[in-house]
């Protein structure tokens, strides 16, 4: 849909577009980008994640104008934002709860992909880029949590950076490099602030690649079958722009309830106490979105074949995310959507329960029954990806797939009528 019209504005746009086809590109991706006509509301979470990234960057840039990355002043500068900066409390609560919302959205987005097999041919790279984004988000969120320099900031940073000391030979050197000294201190805070500002823009770049990969083969859909012609797809605009906008409003209501009525519900009270290197908090717990991984990390309580439990725990934790990279090849089924995979569908929900259970374990002291549940949960997590996924793909007999998207979702006969 090229720019038409003879007005001055249209002429200027045409002049620019001839040299820099930006408008054409946008129109191509919005109007002509064919999207399956049967996407359900679980497909809203991709655009929501993109919007959340923008909200985080905008609120973060404003916070950085008032924040002081110095171990002596960081905590007070955050309190100053909360008390004296115009609407500083609002911006900070948006940013703080935004991190939780971002992870909530991305986790739903990932589990949607796992259910509908969105990682399968030809979307393997799309999926892998998504895992890269997840890793970058975790690093960014962790470093952001350190910036207010409260007790949990300091001790969280101490525990997590110490994980790298488990690496044989060079571990301690890496930790010193991360700290910029021999303990978590001002240099640590400075480099974390720098990286916390940098990484989101790298996320933006990877999101760009994620979108290029997405638009190359288009969205997967709840049926998991390829589009077989124009009757199966509709233009992204206006159909999905309006559906996404409605979804955005619903999401913003949930987000607002947190920001305005329970802004500290997801945080830890300890982080309102200024960092004190001489006093360990009663419990060091990460934010909720990292709890399942924390549980996996702590699940190793014994050495295996002379390898220290800590090293195995660290390896398990990183593997729990790295295993996602190879999911496209671990899943041996050619059928994408779990709708047509009776066994995989059940196992999928077991994985959801398993991850929630691991999150619960991560929030509690590793004592008694929690240790056992954590170990079983970790075992099942890897069993799901490394054994069940390949095995079920081979053994399961999928239900018959519909012949086309249109045939499945339109009234009989209407599908043949083509577009609209």
């Amino acid at each position: 849909m090229p720019v038409t019209g003879t007005g001055r504005t249209s002429r200027i746009i045409r002049w620019i577009d001839y040299r820099l086809p930006f408008v054409t590109q946008i129109e191509h991706e919005l109007y002509e980008y064919p999207t399956p006509r049967n996407l359900n509301y679980w497909w809203n979470f991709g655009s929501l994640a993109g919007i959340m990234l923008v909200i985080m960057i905008v609120s973060g840039v404003v916070l950085a104008m008032h924040y002081t990355p110095n171990a002596e002043m960081a905590f007070d500068s955050v309190e100053r934002i909360m008390r004296d900066v115009n609407y500083g409390w609002l911006i900070r609560y948006i940013h703080m709860n935004g991190a939780s919302m971002f992870f909530l959205i991305v986790y739903i987005h990932i589990f949607r992909g796992l259910y509908y097999g969105s990682y399968k041919y030809p979307r393997e790279l799309l999926w892998m880029l998504g895992v890269v984004i997840l890793l970058l988000m975790m690093a960014t969120a962790f470093m952001g949590y350190v910036l207010p320099w409260g007790q949990m900031s300091f001790w969280g940073a101490t525990v997590i950076t110490n994980l790298f000391s488990a690496i044989p030979v060079v571990g301690q050197k890496i930790v010193t490099l991360l700290w910029g000294g021999f303990t978590v201190g001002n240099p640590t805070l400075n480099r974390f602030f720098s990286l916390h500002y940098l990484l989101p823009f790298i996320i933006v770049a990877v999101v760009g690649l994620h979108l290029i990969a997405l638009h190359t083969h288009g969205s997967n859909n709840p049926l998991g079958i390829d589009s077989k012609g124009p009757q199966d797809s509709i233009p992204f605009h206006p159909y999905y722009t309006i559906k996404d906008t409605f979804g955005l409003m619903v999401f913003l209501i949930v987000y607002s309830i947190f920001v305005f009525y329970m802004p500290n519900a997801l945080g830890d009270a300890q982080n309102y106490i200024p960092a004190n290197p001489l006093q360990t908090p009663p419990e060091i717990v990460p934010e909720w979105y990292l709890l399942p991984f924390y549980a996996i990390l702590r699940s190793m309580t014994f050495n295996v074949l002379g390898i220290p439990s800590k090293l195995i725990g660290v390896m398990l934790m990183f593997s729990s995310i790295l295993v996602l990279f190879v999911v496209p090849w671990l899943d041996t089924s050619r059928v994408r959507s779990a709708t047509f995979r009776p066994i995989y569908k059940k196992v999928y929900w077991l994985l959801v329960i398993d991850v929630l259970a691991l999150g619960y374990v991560g929030a509690h002291r590793p004592e008694g029954i929690m240790v056992i549940i954590g170990q079983l949960g970790t075992f099942y997590y890897f069993l799901h990806f490394l054994v069940l996924m390949p095995l079920i793909g081979k053994l399961e007999r999928p239900r018959p797939l519909p012949t086309s998207i249109g045939a499945a979702v339109l009234p009989a006969g209407a599908g043949a009528a083509g577009g609209n």
């Binding site: 101490t158 525990v159 009270a269």
Partner: protein, 251 residues
């Protein structure tokens, strides 16, 4: 290496402090600032400030507050000037290069009782009275916890050996708290507004004041939230109707 071992032990939960003794669950109090439309009760704020000033401020600072913030308790600017002028603050250096004392101004931070933490410990048997400006947000249970501590002093049960200079408090983790009971008798404070100053009343009022000190923007936050959410609900309705209309052609 010891640091590494310590961090690992912390990580694995081995080096946590001794398991805290059982504390009863916090009794839930009614707070004016709870709920969607909750706001700070100004009477309670002013009474609470009076309790803070006459009792707590002997040991505890509120370093994130300035005198000017007190207008939010309902005091006029003139009153706040008067309150500030009663305090002596250190300023300077002057032309002679010397620091000097002057009466406080509304723009000054409210001065604490001690010049530094060491002085605070020296005056309190080695214990450090925490700054109170964020106390409510620093403790799980928030205002209920503060109220419970203030009203939770008891004689130690038989068989409990108290450490020197420690007091038995039902709700404090480990039950041994270094803070002597701050609210000891009814009418310890003579309220300016004539409210009967029972121990419970004083605990309730000062907790309201401390909740405000920790989260002074709550009133505005609650007001704005109601408007924002109302707007979003209406917008969601409109966009849902638009979505139905646009998609109608497809079905």
């Amino acid at each position: 290496m010891p640091r590494f071992v310590f961090a690992l032990a912390t990580l694995l939960g081995l080096a946590g402090p001794a398991v805290a003794q059982e504390t009863p669950s916090l009794p839930h109090q009614q707070w004016s600032f709870q709920g969607v439309f909750g706001t700070y009760d100004q009477g309670a704020l002013q009474r609470g400030y009076q309790v803070y000033k006459e009792v707590c401020s002997a040991c505890h600072a509120v370093r994130h507050l300035s005198f000017r913030n007190l207008t939010e308790l309902g005091y006029s600017e003139e009153q706040v000037k008067g309150i500030a002028a009663q305090a002596q603050v250190t300023d300077g250096p002057n032309d002679q290069g010397e620091m000097y004392q002057r009466p406080g101004r509304p723009s000054d931070p409210i001065p604490g009782p001690f010049p530094n933490d060491q002085a605070a410990r020296a005056a309190n048997n080695g214990a450090l009275p925490p700054d109170q400006s964020l106390l409510v947000k620093q403790r799980d249970g928030g205002p209920d916890y503060i109220y419970a501590i203030l009203t939770g002093y008891k004689d130690p049960p038989a068989g409990v050996k108290m450490n020197p200079n420690m007091y038995y408090n039902e709700y404090f983790p480990g039950h041994q708290i270094a803070m002597p009971p701050p609210l000891t008798s009814d009418d310890q404070v003579k309220y300016a507004d004539g409210t009967k100053a029972t121990k419970e009343q004083m605990a309730h009022d000062v907790t309201t004041f401390l909740a405000w000190a920790a989260e002074p923007n709550l009133n505005e936050r609650h007001r704005m939230g109601a408007k924002v959410i109302l707007f979003l609900v209406i917008a969601a309705g409109i966009f849902y109707a638009a979505k139905r209309k646009i998609w109608a052609a497809l079905h």
